[in-house]
């Protein structure tokens, strides 16, 4: 099956073409375009996915499914990827499979040791999730100040890993390979995909107005 993988939940604007072997679940990345720029998701994602398709030598109409990272991540950038995935799925009449973006980083990092995946949530907080040695997510996704997160003996990966530990934290961002691996079982099941619902994890900043401010002095 031919998959397009997209993620805009981190500063990485990621689009890649993947061949998924339906029997073995093996993932073969055919082409990938990535730009690290937290302010260019809306600009670059469609050019990237077109470039990746043309590098892979496929037309978008050949796609069998879209796989999209649904965060958690900074809201505005995250939405660029998600609305792109939803619109492509509509236009091409193919399913769009959601993947927790932290799961995609964990899938790229591989199994064998417990993992803690952390990405930047701004405001001195991180988005994080914890995975067992076999790759099962055990906690999260959540958003917390770094001091509140118990690393335990986990290997820390993800772009915000440096906020938690001094050790190396590759992979930093969701990759095409990781997104496809994290989605493989749902895609192969060929079921109705889960809805593409973003993992915001925070409510919008908005305060209801208080008492109307007076424009004239109150005389005493």
């Amino acid at each position: 099956m031919l998959l397009l993988a997209l993620d805009t939940s981190t500063p990485a604007v990621t689009a890649g073409l993947v061949a998924l072997d339906e029997t073995s679940g093996a993932v073969d990345v055919l082409a990938e375009r990535v730009t690290i720029n937290p302010r260019a998701h809306g600009e670059l994602l469609t050019p990237h996915l077109k470039d990746a398709a043309s590098t892979a030598g496929v037309a978008l109409s050949d796609l069998d499914a879209v796989v999209c990272g649904i965060g958690p991540g900074p809201f505005t950038g995250l939405r660029a990827g998600m609305v792109t995935a939803a619109s492509l799925a509509h236009a091409l009449d193919i399913p769009a499979y959601p993947v927790c973006s932290l799961d995609a980083i964990a899938a790229e990092a591989g199994t064998g040791t417990p993992l803690l995946v952390a990405t930047d949530a701004r405001r001195r907080e991180v988005y994080w999730a914890r995975y067992a040695a076999d790759g099962t997510r055990e906690a999260g996704p959540a958003v917390s100040p770094p001091a509140d997160i118990d690393i335990g003996g986990a290997r820390v990966v993800g772009q915000a890993g440096a906020m938690l530990t001094d050790t190396a934290n590759e992979p930093s961002y969701p990759t095409t390979n990781g997104l496809a691996r994290a989605a493989a079982s749902s895609v192969m099941a060929r079921g109705e995909p889960e809805p593409l619902t973003p993992l915001y994890l925070r409510r919008p900043d908005a305060a209801e107005p208080g008492e109307r401010k007076r424009v004239t002095e109150v005389s005493r």
Partner: protein, 358 residues
């Protein structure tokens, strides 16, 4: 030959998808002054109710709603028109002005549709869309015409030489938009958000001459075609506070009627003056506030007296929608203008002189 254009609008709190059909003019029809554009579908999902308790549009709330509503609204528009996406020949999308995060959702969606369908994409100006929408109802626009755009976010006087390519701003508000003044005054007198409809309704029972509220920017040294509504809002607040101090009950209908009169008076006075100054014989009033009963009545009266043809699209087309963007897209396509590149971004302060993003 005819072409179908899909328009996508997400600049504020309405997710709009419209579909129009652009038909080539019969070469023998010498009376045609512009392309024939026909409305096929106009679907809008509004998040206005989610903003009501905040007294104004909350950008993040609007952006979240756009993401949820985008594909369902597009599906509804296609179903209404009895078309499929394979019938769509071009995509137009609001590139600005508007809320950055809200614009991004529509722009990203439009790019994906254009890429998947392999059709050209036009990033177009929201304000020009408010003018172009009138062609769906009243046919081609005379050149030039004057446009008065009044909504919650915009108050502009425009000279429109060609809606697809040449629009000049003659004036705009220096502070609050007219619709914003309605929202703020509604809050002051205890009416719900958005303030336009309830103030219009209350004003019908009131005396427009009861209170002499100021007409902003009408002094001899003021810019002749700019507007100001912030002082008017403050004048209403002062008047109410003085009445409260004196223990008087607030005559809400009179306050609304007098406030509304001040807004309509300044808007129509300056619009008619601009039409005279530039020798323009047709005026289009559009934007959400165009639905205001006093504004349209006074505009009709003053345009008639000045010998100006007045065109006001029906209220459904005056508020933000996708049809206006599709209509503008059709004019841009008909003019054979180049498509936008796929790497453009939404521009919150896009000037009206930029009708299509290159």
């Amino acid at each position: 030959m005819s072409r179908v254009i899909m328009g996508i609008e997400t600049s504020c709190d309405e997710t709009g998808v419209g579909l129009v059909r652009l038909s080539e003019n019969d070469a023998a029809d010498a009376t045609a002054t512009g392309p024939r554009v026909e409305l096929l579908a106009d679907e809008v999902a509004s998040s206005v109710e989610l903003h009501a308790r905040y007294g104004g549009v909350v950008p993040e709330v609007a952006s979240r709603a756009h993401l949820e509503a985008m594909a369902p609204t597009a599906r509804r528009a296609l179903a209404t028109a009895g078309l499929t996406l394979s019938d769509v020949d071009a995509i137009a999308v609001t590139a600005g002005p508007g809320l950055a995060g809200a614009l991004l959702v529509g722009v990203a969606a439009a790019k994906a549709y254009a890429a998947a369908l392999d059709v050209p994409l036009y990033g177009v100006n929201h304000l020009a869309g408010h003018v172009a929408v009138d062609t769906l109802e009243h046919g081609p626009l005379p050149r030039p015409c004057l446009a008065l755009l009044v909504s919650g976010g915009h108050t502009q006087l425009l000279r429109v030489d060609d809606v697809a390519s040449k629009i000049t701003e003659l004036g705009s508000t220096v502070d609050d938009a007219a619709g914003e003044a309605y929202d703020k005054v509604a809050r002051i007198v205890g009416l719900p958000y958005p303030g336009g409809p309830p103030i219009d309704k209350a004003a019908r029972e009131g005396d427009p001459e009861a209170i002499a509220f100021p007409r902003g920017m009408t002094g001899p040294r003021d810019a002749p075609f700019d507007f100001s509504f912030s002082g008017l809002k403050t004048a209403v607040a002062r008047w109410i506070e003085a009445a409260e101090r004196n223990g008087e009950s607030i005559p809400v209908p009179d306050v609304c009627a007098s406030f509304q009169e001040a807004v309509a008076d300044v808007l129509t006075m300056k619009a008619v003056a601009a039409a005279r100054e530039y020798g323009i014989g047709t005026m289009v009033i559009s934007g959400g506030v165009a639905a205001n009963s006093r504004l349209s009545a006074l505009a009709r009266e003053r345009c008639e007296a000045a010998g100006i043809e007045l065109r006001v699209p029906r209220p459904r087309l005056c508020t933000d929608n996708g049809a206006m963007i599709a209509a503008l897209g059709a004019h841009v396509v008909a003019a054979d203008l180049p498509a936008s590149p796929l790497d453009f971004s939404g521009t919150p302060a896009l000037p009206v002189s930029t009708v299509t993003v290159r």
